[in-house]
Subunit: 202 residues, 2 copies
């Protein structure tokens, strides 16, 4: 019997993906479910639906709520919360670097560290300098990693991963998918996704 | 010390308000928190933001997800789920009748019964005949209640309640508000709202 597993789909621009990234590993270990980290870009998926920006920007009353909701969620978990400016940040470079890291075994650590610098310290992860400082913190050579992140193979992988997310009907981040085709949207669905994966593993 | 309490804001067109309505009373009793039921209309609040219809209709991929998510949530709770056609239903008449019932002490029972006929049986609650059958099931005289629901006082109360929701920055249903001004959006925030109300009661 294969071990139960979920795919964790995240965009580095997404606030709720930050909370999910900080807790998915411990929650999944406790549930004895494996997690595959899948960075993707929400922007092209929004655009395909005619949505030109983050709903939190398009609808300020929803954006204000998200900030308060995030403050409460982060307080409960002992995490800081600070929104970078501008919000949302461009996440394409970060996602490419994460793919390099996932190939090399340090992608999950990089993802968590990048989320912390973005949403605890409010730093602009659109900028290569911010990503470089995260890489240095992990003992990686920024120039080497940055160069690899610009390979056509990595660029193509991010496009394919985003197309796969769209094909799975993902429309927001974070999302969780299971081997039997279920989709769960939102940090607050993590527990349900893990329970589903465990119950329906074959 | 006043007992802790929350306001439960719901729209009869809203699927997730149905799930919340079916569980809020038991959850709140367990938490020893009082609940005030506040029917309101989401339509004018959407329109004020330039949103012309339910996001579940405007964005079909989100609408398809909502149906699957509702099925799973209802399965877990032993509730049926069937979407009425068309979706969403007009909820103004139902909300006015609920206000009459809340004045008379049967508004919560009416709200639950109406949600069940709408989202378990898929009946059109836009139609007076459906609301009449719910009223008869509760031992009420439909003609009398329907006439009262058309009083200017009731119509005005629903407008005021909707304006109050908007002033509280409510942008979706269900929502929960606390005496100290916190807003929680979504059925899946009920537990958090109850815990907050209890912790911050003065």
């Amino acid at each position: 019997m294969p071990a139960p597993s979920i795919d964790f789909w995240y965009d580095f621009a997404s606030t709720y993906s930050y909370v999910a990234a900080m807790r998915v590993t411990a929650m999944a270990e406790q549930a004895e479910v494996a997690v595959r980290w899948r960075p993707f870009l929400l922007g092209p998926i929004f655009q395909a639906q005619g949505i030109s920006n983050s709903p939190f920007v398009l609808f300020p009353v929803k954006g204000d709520y998200m900030v308060r909701d995030m403050q409460r969620l982060c307080d409960e978990r002992g995490l800081g919360f600070r929104l970078p400016e501008p919000f949302p940040q461009h996440s394409v470079l970060a996602a490419r670097v994460a793919l390099v890291g996932l190939d090399d075994g340090w992608g999950e650590d990089f993802s968590r560290a990048l989320y912390r610098i973005e949403f605890e310290q409010g730093m602009p992860i659109s900028e290569a300098a911010t990503i470089g400082s995260v890489l240095r913190g992990l003992g990686k050579a920024p120039d080497d990693v940055m160069q690899r992140s610009q390979d056509d193979a990595i660029k193509g992988r991010l496009r394919e991963q985003t197309a796969e997310a769209q094909a799975k009907k993902i429309f927001g981040a974070p999302s969780f998918t299971t081997a039997d085709g279920e989709l769960f949207w939102g940090n607050d669905r993590l527990e349900q996704a893990l329970a589903w994966a465990k119950r329906h593993a074959r």
